[in-house]
Symmetry: C2
């Protein structure tokens, strides 16, 4: 490590202030971010501006992304953008019997580096990713189908924030125990018993990150950086349709690790052949001691049941509910909901699916509204929001895969269509499949224990631009259905609109008892499906939608262990 010492000092000098700010932010949970959201903020101090970022993205297309990994036995790749562009990038396919031992080789030095140096190396990785935010934005856009601005913000600064947040939590957790302690126990008139103790955070082993299609960086960075910052090597297994953003990430991490004097194999990529399904094989390898996963409930449950040698952190499917009981800002509510349903074509784990509305209507600042009026007004709001094709394209992005399209098309048959989905053409990418959301009326009251078809629809996750306006008997009925939905199906988010203190309290109580994150009466520019790093928790880890929250102490505390060595003083 002698050769790396100057680098270590430089990295600490450069990044320690940011780390300290992050530590303060997670303590106060006030607004904070070091990563600019505006595309024009980039282009100075070594960061790529819009043109340079686009050029960097274009330059990687149709190339072999050679990460210099050991055990590369082949090159694989076949990503096709939801916007219709073939990416043509190939990635190393690993012989894991060679790669995994190579990943362990550098763990001793990484462990010995200590929590602070690991943290600032992680911050340097994030800094270089941040500098390339424009390039990453295109990579996220053309794998997830997000519109450019969303890919830029959610895939760039917001994902980097979540990574930094995980580093801050990991650092804080590791330094709760001091490196050394002198222990002296009085023995009356005899000499005290005295011991010198050292405490070392040690990694669990190799961590496996299983990436998702829709938010490869945003959902991937917390686990990646939490594991790396706690001393583990990290093997990144991206979704086959969204390899590039994480492959670029692995490339940056390897570059920074090597420059800082560490083994670049502490971070590696495991791309796969179509249909190879290596996640199962990797997740149950004895070397893998941590798994982070975002995706389907079925595979998340499989991981929890089978990757028993590992700590498994999963974000799975859920059914998100918004109760619409009454409002003091009818227009604001409609606008807010319309945006939530439309953003990224509803392809967020946090998008509301079921809108529970009393069949007798609701009280508003514009007078009483019937169930049908509320639904029709919401449909009009969505229509208005997406009426202009350019704006629709900018909000909706593209449908990420054929399954979502199929679900969208089937949804119209589930009930009375209050708002039909329409095709939007994208002049820049004519092959992109762009659709506005469908809103379907269902009847929930008196039926949710009877197993009707309506129930089958609203009690299952219908991932994509599909929402159900579910008529309920009363506020109490809505609250009961909310409880049942969260308990049985899980929820990443719950929303509610009410001016009634008792109803509000009942909804809060359900969320506290069933561990669901609640947004109340949002009528401005914050949406139920968005969370901010350092302040909002993403998921609760306490209902079936996810067994972990982004990010809290529990997300990092078990990624390392503390080994104590004690000696007579």
């Amino acid at each position: 490590m002698a050769a790396a010492e100057p680098t270590a000092h430089a990295l600490i000098a450069q990044h320690r202030p940011t780390l300290d700010q992050a530590l303060e932010a997670i303590r106060t949970r006030a607004y904070w971010s070091p990563h600019p959201e505006h595309p024009k903020a980039y282009g100075e101090n070594g960061s790529l501006d819009a043109a340079a970022g686009k050029a960097a993205f274009d330059a990687v297309l149709h190339t072999r992304l050679d990460l210099g990994q050991p055990g590369t036995d082949d090159w694989v790749g076949g990503e096709v953008s939801p916007y219709g562009v073939e990416l043509g990038v190939t990635y190393p396919h690993a012989d894991v019997d060679t790669l995994l031992p190579a990943m362990r080789a550098g763990q001793g030095a990484w462990r010995d580096a200590g929590a602070e140096l690991r943290a600032v190396v992680c911050l340097e990785i994030l800094k270089r990713i941040s500098d390339r935010t424009h390039e990453f934005a295109h990579a996220v856009m053309h794998t997830s189908g997000q519109a450019f601005m969303m890919a830029f913000q959610a895939g760039g600064p917001h994902a980097q924030d979540r990574g930094l947040e995980a580093v801050a939590y990991a650092y804080a957790e590791q330094v709760r125990t001091p490196g050394t302690a002198e222990w002296s126990k009085p023995q009356g008139k005899r000499d005290p018993l005295a011991l010198t103790k050292s405490f070392t955070p040690v990694p669990r082993g190799i961590a496996l990150l299983i990436g998702c299609n829709t938010f490869p960086t945003w959902n991937g960075y917390p686990g990646l950086f939490a594991s790396l910052a706690t001393g583990n090597a990290v093997l990144v297994k991206p979704h086959p349709r969204a390899v590039l953003p994480l492959a670029l990430t692995v490339g940056v991490a390897r570059e920074v690790l090597a420059e800082a004097g560490f083994d670049p194999n502490l971070v590696a990529l495991a791309a796969e052949r179509p249909g190879e399904g290596i996640a199962k094989t990797l997740a149950t390898r004895p070397e893998i001691r941590i798994v982070d996963y975002t995706g389907s409930t079925a595979f998340g449950d499989w991981l929890e049941a089978n990757a028993r040698q590992a700590q498994v952190y999963t974000e799975k499917a859920g059914v998100n509910t918004v109760i619409v009981e009454s409002t003091a800002n009818y227009k604001g509510m409609l606008a807010n909901l319309a945006f939530s349903l439309s953003l990224y074509s509803g392809q967020m784990c946090t998008t509301p699916q079921n809108l529970l509305i009393p069949r007798d209507g609701i009280r508003t600042d514009e007078g009483a509204k019937t169930f049908d009026e509320v639904v029709a007004d919401l449909a009009r709001s969505v229509d208005g929001l997406l009426g202009d094709d350019a704006r629709a394209n900018a909000l909706l992005g593209a449908i990420v895969n054929p399954d979502v399209k199929a679900r969208l098309e089937a949804a119209a048959g589930l009930g009375e269509v209050a708002l039909a989905s329409r095709e939007v053409s994208n002049p820049e990418f004519p092959d992109a499949i762009v659709r506005t959301p469908v809103l379907v009326k269902l009847d929930g009251a008196r039926k949710y224990w009877e197993g009707t078809d309506d129930e089958a629809a609203y009690m299952g996750e219908c991932f994509g631009p599909v929402s159900f306006a579910v008529a309920v008997d009363s506020a109490a009925d809505a609250v009961a259905l909310l409880r049942r939905t969260v308990r049985e199906k899980g929820a990443m988010t719950v929303g509610a609109y009410t001016t009634d203190a008792e109803v509000e309290q009942a909804i809060e109580e359900v969320c506290l008892e069933e561990a669901a994150q609640l947004s109340l009466n949002l009528t401005g520019g914050v949406y139920v499906n968005q969370t901010a790093a350092f302040s909002d928790f993403h998921g609760s880890g306490g209902n079936p939608a996810a067994n972990a929250a982004l990010t809290d102490g529990a997300f990092v505390a078990n990624r390392f262990r503390v080994v104590e060595v004690r000696r007579d003083a």
Copy 2:
């Protein structure tokens, strides 16, 4: 909660200073304890002195311990002290379909009390237990078979320390996130986005504590208090041979909860009929969301595999190793080891089992010693320590159950006996089975991959007063066998004696890589099998002996979740 307010303020005023000291102690890991170790320290300020404690214990014998629990359908009990005394206490046998719902009823108020009030209520419970330490000492002695002084210290102040440590960790973890936050995100020239957020720690549900025979309070209190302090109700399922200490604990907890205005059913006892095996039934109930367990590897593994609806914290079996390579204090080493092997007849999960000694002997401050000399000298040290029957009884306690006695008797057939076990008579309790430890020579070098009988002996846990002096080829051989033992069998403790810096480093490296807690060159009054709360970790949670450490952030962080409610500001 209005009626409880004065009590809440009084409890906070009384116990907050102790909580703050505990928080400081876990941060510095210097020596600290608020619970006196000396029996004579009790008898003032409401605590029971020796005579009063003994009288209280005698008064509970042959009675029905009515805890006032709902759903009591029967009374059960049949504890017989390892010292030969029938306790004759009966306990409520629960109809769990009545008891579990009753335990949930008070959880809302307990959650709403908040982290600080929960912590000081826990401290009041510990204070009242502390006041009755003499009474608890007899209860621990006559269920575990520990000698009185050990039952007093380990079952009293040390267990209370571990409980308080868990409360401190639980409190610290819950207040890492503030109760409320104002979040304001700049929007350039427009008004900032502003939200008011609240964050509430919420319990997972009902926690199940499955107690053990040998350390009912010491091993039980961390889980019990960690779960209670994080807002969960706790159902205590004691070992059928060690019900009384935990039943008394439940009684105190229920009394304090009720006085503080909470539902006493937040803590309840689940005693069982002989052979009923209710642990399996309870651990897989949907209401049970946390399980703490100390005991056999087989049942620990079963819990981890089957109690999938719960967070499961287990301490299982392991094979503890001491490497004896060289020493600068031969006499001190022998005395230290002799004590470690003898204390509580080796019936501690931390007692060394395998002493790895180079067959060519070791260097010492008294010159070179052959393998046979080291073993013979150690045998003499144990003999000397236990030569006097009164002292032997005070150190050894009684054999806790017939299985331990059978293993001890079988051990003499495993190899050359270097020190035979002898029977010690106990004049006060003539039916107690008291035995000195057996030390058996085995050959480890060149054999540990061949599957010899020697290997079968030293690679399996032989819980009780049995140790093996295993001849190894070299220090390197010892280090390799240590690694293999920890990796395959787990270890709660590792000890080593060496004056060689390279050997020391190699042993440390193994402990860091395999996550084992290491005591180096202990020759004074601290023993490898003892750990001190607030400073030492008990287990690492990173090798097969235990999946959790007592106590760290990971032990508490997942016992609750944080629910956020956010509103437009």
